[in-house]
C-alpha cells in the first residue's frame, strides 16, 4: 500500500500547559493533534502518579502531532520557546501515513 513520509512530533508537558501548546498548534494551522493522558512519570522534578491527584499539577499529557516535514521545523521553534523554561520534553520521529491530505 502506498504511504507518504511525515513527521510525528510528541510533546510531553504538564497538564496546566496543555492549553498553551494547543493554542500554538491552532495558530499554526496544524492539521490536527491528539492528546493522550499519562498515568505516572518521572522527570527532573521527581515522580508523580495520577491517582489521588486533586488538582492538575504534576500530571502530564502527551500531545501527538502528525505533520509534513516542511511545517515541522517552524512548529518546533514555537513550541520550544514555550516549553524551554517549563517542564516538558519534545521528540520528533519519522512515520508513514496512508492518506497524504490534511497534514
Amino acid at each position: 500500500m502506498k504511504t507518504y513520509p511525515k513527521k510525528r512530533i510528541e510533546i510531553m508537558v504538564e497538564a496546566p500547559l496543555m492549553n498553551r501548546v494547543i493554542s500554538i498548534l491552532d495558530e499554526n494551522e496544524t492539521g490536527g493533534y491528539t492528546v493522550l493522558p499519562a498515568l505516572a512519570g518521572r522527570g527532573k522534578d521527581g515522580s508523580w502518579h495520577r491517582d489521588g491527584l486533586v488538582g492538575r499539577v504534576g500530571s502530564v499529557v502527551q500531545i501527538v502531532v502528525i505533520l509534513d516535514e516542511t511545517r515541522a521545523d517552524d512548529l518546533l521553534d514555537k513550541i520550544f520557546q514555550l516549553v524551554s523554561c517549563q517542564i516538558g520534553i519534545v521528540t520528533v520521529s519519522d512515520v508513514q501515513v496512508v492518506r497524504p491530505e490534511n497534514f
Binding site: 504538564e14 495520577r50 491517582d51 489521588g52 491527584l53 486533586v54 499539577v57 517542564i87
Partner: protein, 325 residues
C-alpha cells in the same frame, strides 16, 4: 486549657481526622491504596457545590448585612497582608530564590477549602453556628494571592498576559463555589429542601473519603519532598499558620463576627492552598519548584491545621469573643 485539650482529643477520634491519618500512614507505609483521580475530582466538585450552596441559602435566609461586607473586605486584605509577611519571612530566613519564595507565599495568602470544611464540622460538633457568608469570604480569599505572586516575582521576565489572568480568575473551583453560592442564594430554603438528601446528609461521609485521599497525597508528598526541605522551610510551614490565625482571629473579632465566624476567619488565614494556587503557579511561575510548595502546604501545614490548629483556633475564638467555650 483543658477544654482545648478536650476539643483536640474529640477531634482525634472524629472519623474525618482518623481517615486522614489512615491515608497518611498508608502512604508512608507504601501501600498501593489509592482513590481514582476521577473519583477524587468528583468528590471535590461535590464538596464545593454543597458548601457553596449551603452558604448561599444562608444568605437567602439571613440577608446581607454590614458585617458581611466587612468580612469580605477583611478577607481580601488579610490574604494580601499574609502573603507579604510570608514572602518577607521566607526571604529573610530561607535560601529560597525570589521566584520560589513568591510561589510559596502565594499558597499561604490563599486558602484551603478542605481545612475550612473540617473547621466547619468541628464547630458544628461544639454547637457553634458561624455566619453562613463565611464561604463567600473563602471564595474571595482564594485567587488574589496568585496575582500578588506574579507582582512579587516581577523583574524575572514575568509578564501577566490576559490568557493567564482569565484562566486564573475563572478556574473551575472558583466557578463552582461562587456559582453554587449564588444558586443557593436564589433558590433558598425551597431549593435546599429539594436537594438536601444529596448535599447535606452524606456530606460528612464524603468528606471522610476525601480526607483519606488527602492523607494519601500528603503522605506521598512528604516522602517526595523530604529531599527539598531545609529546616527553615519546614519551620515556616508550622509557624506561618499560627501567624495567619493570629491575624485572622484579630480581624474576625474586630469586625464583630460570632465565635464560629472568628474561628473560621482564623482557619482561612492559617490555611494554605494546594489545589488552585499550585496549578496557577505552573502556568504563571513555571520556574518555581513544585517540589517545595506542594509538600509544604499539603504535607506539613494541612495536617498541622487539621490536627492541632483547628481546635486551637476554636478555643482562642471562644476566649476572644468571651464565649462559654
Amino acid at each position: 486549657m483543658e477544654s482545648v485539650l478536650g476539643l483536640a482529643v474529640s477531634n482525634l477520634t472524629s472519623p474525618m481526622i482518623l481517615f486522614f491519618l489512615l491515608g497518611l500512614l498508608a502512604a508512608l507505609g507504601r501501600s498501593d491504596l489509592n482513590v481514582p483521580e476521577a473519583v477524587a475530582k468528583g468528590m471535590s466538585l461535590y464538596l464545593m457545590m454543597a458548601i457553596g450552596f449551603k452558604g448561599g441559602v444562608g444568605i437567602a435566609e439571613h440577608g446581607v448585612d454590614v458585617t458581611m461586607v466587612l468580612a469580605l473586605l477583611s478577607g481580601i486584605v488579610l490574604s494580601a497582608v499574609l502573603q507579604l509577611i510570608a514572602f518577607a519571612l521566607l526571604s529573610a530566613t530561607t535560601a529560597l530564590s525570589r521566584v520560589d519564595a513568591a510561589a510559596v507565599a502565594a499558597h499561604y495568602g490563599s486558602i484551603s477549602i478542605v481545612t475550612f470544611l473540617a473547621a466547619s464540622q468541628s464547630l458544628q460538633a461544639v454547637l457553634l453556628e458561624p455566619e453562613s457568608y463565611m464561604v463567600a469570604v473563602a471564595a474571595v480569599m482564594e485567587t488574589p494571592a496568585i496575582f500578588v505572586a506574579l507582582w512579587l516575582a516581577r523583574g524575572n521576565g514575568i509578564r501577566l498576559d490576559a490568557a493567564t489572568l482569565r484562566e486564573v480568575a475563572l478556574n473551575g473551583s472558583i466557578v463552582i463555589l461562587t456559582g453554587a453560592f449564588f444558586i443557593g442564594a436564589i433558590s433558598g430554603t425551597e431549593g435546599l429542601k429539594e436537594i438536601s438528601p444529596f448535599i447535606i446528609a452524606p456530606f460528612k461521609g464524603v468528606l471522610c473519603l476525601f480526607l483519606l485521599d488527602m492523607g494519601l497525597i500528603a503522605g506521598r508528598g512528604l516522602k517526595e519532598g523530604r529531599g527539598s526541605f531545609t529546616m527553615p522551610v519546614m519551620a515556616f510551614g508550622l509557624y506561618m499558620p499560627l501567624i495567619g490565625a493570629a491575624l485572622g482571629l484579630l480581624s474576625g473579632w474586630s469586625i464583630g463576627l460570632s465565635t464560629g465566624g472568628i474561628a473560621l476567619m482564623a482557619t482561612l488565614s492559617a490555611s494554605a492552598s494546594y489545589i488552585a494556587v499550585p496549578a496557577a503557579m505552573r502556568l504563571a511561575l513555571p520556574e518555581a519548584k513544585p517540589s517545595i510548595y506542594l509538600p509544604l502546604s499539603l504535607g506539613i501545614t494541612f495536617p498541622f491545621n487539621l490536627r492541632i490548629g483547628i481546635p486551637l483556633y476554636i478555643y482562642l475564638a471562644g476566649i476572644l469573643s468571651g464565649g462559654a467555650l
